[in-house]
């Protein structure tokens, strides 16, 4: 499953805790081996791999 969206940087940073909660819950409850977040911008792009989920 891929969710693709544009973000407003300030709001993104403000909601990182909520995003973490969602990503970890998604990985845990759908039994994903890995959940990946990609951020792309003018300075490049980064992958964030989540393999161990919060309880």
């Amino acid at each position: 499953m891929i969710v693709y969206t544009y973000i407003k940087p300030d709001r993104f940073v403000a909601h990182l805790a909520g995003l973490r909660k969602f990503l970890h819950r998604f990985g845990r409850e759908t039994n994903q081996e890995v959940v990946v977040v990609e951020l792309s911008g003018p300075d490049g792009s980064w992958f964030f791999r989540i393999k161990e989920y919060d309880a």
Partner: protein
């Protein structure tokens, strides 16, 4: 012969930026906040599902129906490029897979998009490397400003 020019007007003074400063958040901070295990620069990720997603996205936006065979927008130069047979087979497999997902593209168009993306990444990587080298050089000579 003309004499030496002398500037007699006052200097314009320093320009100050008085707007709100935008906070910069690095990838390491985001990784920690997300509980992520590793940060991998997009340039170093090969074969990850997201790369196929990016490929699909670009083909979707660039393949145009022209009445005949759909053309890849902007790809006007037709070149013979030597390829390994197995690479061409993989490109054909990719094109078939993408077609099955609703993105009609030939193996050549898939190759064109991949080459374009890699060249763009190479360009941005080289630019970042040049910027970093300049910063290091300035720090080494002590002429850098605190904002660097």
């Amino acid at each position: 012969m003309a004499g030496k020019l002398k500037i007699t007007s006052r200097s314009a003074g320093t320009i100050r930026h008085v707007g709100a400063a935008r906070r910069t958040v690095g990838p390491d901070v985001i990784a920690k906040a997300l509980g992520a295990e590793a940060i991998v620069s997009g340039e170093n990720v090969h074969g990850a599902p997201i790369s196929l997603h990016a490929l699909r996205r670009e083909l979707e936006s660039r393949v145009r129906s022209t009445g005949g065979r759909p053309a890849l927008d902007g790809a006007t130069k037709i070149q013979k490029i030597p390829l390994k047979p197995e690479d061409w087979s993989r490109l054909e497999d990719l094109a078939t897979r993408l077609s099955g997902e609703g993105v009609s593209a030939t193996a050549g168009q898939v190759a064109s998009v991949m080459v374009h993306r890699q060249l763009a990444l190479l360009g941005s990587s080289a630019a970042r490397h040049r910027r970093a080298s300049r910063r290091l050089t300035r720090r080494g000579t002590g002429s850098g400003s605190p904002a660097d």
